[in-house]
Symmetry: C2
Amino acid sequence: MTLASPAAVPQPLLALRESLGASAVLFGDEVPQRNRNDWSTQPPAHPLAVVRPVDAAGVSAALKACRAAGLAVVPQGGLTGLCGGARPEDGWVALSLERMVGIEEIDPASATMTVLAGTPLELVQRAAAEAGFYFALDLGARGSCAIGGNLSTNAGGNRVIRYGMARELVLGLEVVLPDGTVMTSLNKMLKNNAGYDLKHLFIGSEGTLGIITRIVLRLHPQPGCTLSALCALPDYDGVVRLLGAARGGLGPLLSAFEVMWPDYWQVVTERVGVRDPLTGSARHGHYVLVEVQGTDEAIDGPRFQRWLESLMEEGALADAAVAQSVADTQAFWALRDACAEFFPTLGPHVSYDVGLAVKSMDAYVRACKAALAVRIPGCESVYYGHIGDGNLHLVAWVPGLSVEQQPKEAMDEVIYGLVREFGGTVSAEHGIGTAKKRWLGHARNPEEIALMKTLKAALDPLGLLNPGKVV
Amino acid sequence: MTLASPAAVPQPLLALRESLGASAVLFGDEVPQRNRNDWSTQPPAHPLAVVRPVDAAGVSAALKACRAAGLAVVPQGGLTGLCGGARPEDGWVALSLERMVGIEEIDPASATMTVLAGTPLELVQRAAAEAGFYFALDLGARGSCAIGGNLSTNAGGNRVIRYGMARELVLGLEVVLPDGTVMTSLNKMLKNNAGYDLKHLFIGSEGTLGIITRIVLRLHPQPGCTLSALCALPDYDGVVRLLGAARGGLGPLLSAFEVMWPDYWQVVTERVGVRDPLTGSARHGHYVLVEVQGTDEAIDGPRFQRWLESLMEEGALADAAVAQSVADTQAFWALRDACAEFFPTLGPHVSYDVGLAVKSMDAYVRACKAALAVRIPGCESVYYGHIGDGNLHLVAWVPGLSVEQQPKEAMDEVIYGLVREFGGTVSAEHGIGTAKKRWLGHARNPEEIALMKTLKAALDPLGLLNPGKVV
């Protein structure tokens, strides 16, 4: 593929550059490296152009120009997606929201914040905190990812059990439709049943139905205290009982319930080298990080302590350690976050993000481990996840093989084949993009996929907005 | 309109009766009175038939038969809707889910319940409680309304501030599409991002895009205790500050925040005759019922008491009464629920259900009261609502006039005209149906309404499912 020379650029894009300014529309070689790919493991593409508008009117003009020229468009935020949703194909136009950054308004009475879609998540979190609120979405890429991208994949993260997915943190949207129509729905009310709730079409559809340009976010009160404990249990039945006890005894204060299977624990404590905070040297069946966000440490601290003690007295826990300080809590989370350190320790590996009903999860893990061993001799795998949300992460690898040599296709077949068998989902939080499109039928039936295609055809009849992604 | 004789019934419906059984398909005079109307104040209609299937296959067969005969279909649940969404027009087919009642499964590990859509809300609540869980949706019509109808209007109720609208209590759906396709999406996972989240299309669209037949509901832990207080404040600024203090100090335990304006208070205590639990005889600017659902009264009781005391010490409250017993809590809620007793006390009146940003609400109330007085001499009005959710209820009437004589059109113009001016919504929780369709444009802009119509045309190209409702 040769790079486009300005001479080969269609007239509507030249007119767009004229209208939005030279820095807003870059062609061919001018397209920065970052706009050629996302964090999925595909090679960089050669887009025809990147357009970087500063407002919805600019996004609208860009979509109209691309429509006039018959060019495919991919919306881009922080480009941290893992499934190729924001990656252009050669010859496409990348529409980047990187210049649409900022907080427009914080309304303390409604507990809402209105932001531009290109604003990095971390900036949203910080602005909320400065206004005395808490923005509950959090994930590893917070410094790079854009809030618009978080919505386009309906991001999850660690505190879904308490605050819900990104979808549940949104009250209103401004969206530019594929034909360039700017639809402004900047609702601030928790209750609004005047006609269809259109925002849900655009949240989680990975930029295939419209481009989100502004967002009204729901804010929560800042937690007064954060408490955590690391619990060891003999078996998965004990984990399910602990989840029930946490829901009942901690109620809505429960903010995370992270489960680690023993092979994960072993890799993290013995190979990555994170300190094991449990006192005994015994190996356990499962490990759970339980976190509570309370309003007042003087009240919620003793509540949490008593809850744990009663579980210990009942014999529900094989072992437990309670964080006595912020440093302890960080040390507990280091165990859970150690998966980010797998590359230097384990070498090349493949990461998965599946979902299952809570009760099926351990059976799935056992089936998966066994099937991987049979299908791919020497394959190792470890399991961990946000169990209360039905979300299981797993990492699989064959030691000694390079990234390219890892038998990803065979792994996919085993892992997604069992997802289908167990009635789970192939994507709990990363999305489908192009990377998982082949497997969508393992999690959605033909009627569901047909309806998705009906929606895509209704909103984007020319098929120019992020075509070929998701469905 | 003459009633249909079996001879006038189209052949596909006769075949449907043959296939589903005589008790499942009733024609003309056989159609029970209840299937001819909902709770909106319109005259009963003369549907051609009512179909009462027992499963999704029966619903599908009914939709296919109506399609073959070119007949319009209205889905019916408990028929408690207030806006005409479930009312047939003359000659339509009413498709009632009254025989699709029952709990299919409770999954304690996932905290989910799978139910048939015709199941009354109260039965859902009771089954959850018997399994040790709490189903958080609650509203006055709980004994009559069906859970499928609750979803079709995305019902709200008193505890939205804590648990969200009906939408947020749903994880999966089975839906029959207008062409008879049965789409089964009975997801149980909080996180599932494999393609578009289709359930949101059907929730809140008042049976115009598909007919919900089965539902996976999200259950919550049963609250360990319920605490409440009635607070009096000098002005609306104080109410907004109290809401902020409740969000911050009570965190996610806050389960209701109900505000009553002074005219409402006066009507309820002086005319309806509910006992005033506040000690002083002073009249106040606003009254707020604050409710907390905690996990443990020994911990959360003192927390709530201290929170109130600190507000009293700061001078934030003009007066307050804390419930000392379940009877006290019931007495507080009697003030809020007294609106159900308005008919015998105030006589004929018109009820509204609007939504506004929290900060605009009092200004709206003042503008509305003034404008009604100017436009309709003698008009009285009272205001109350779920303020934390942005939901304001209001009741307006001209004393001495009959239901038919009430100047509803002039009231609508004033009330919805100001909603438009203040950027609010004409329906916070009752829906649009036919009753509010004229006013949809006051809450949604042309781009939003055009997209709603695009969706309707894409899913129901023949326009036979609840035509003319909502959009």
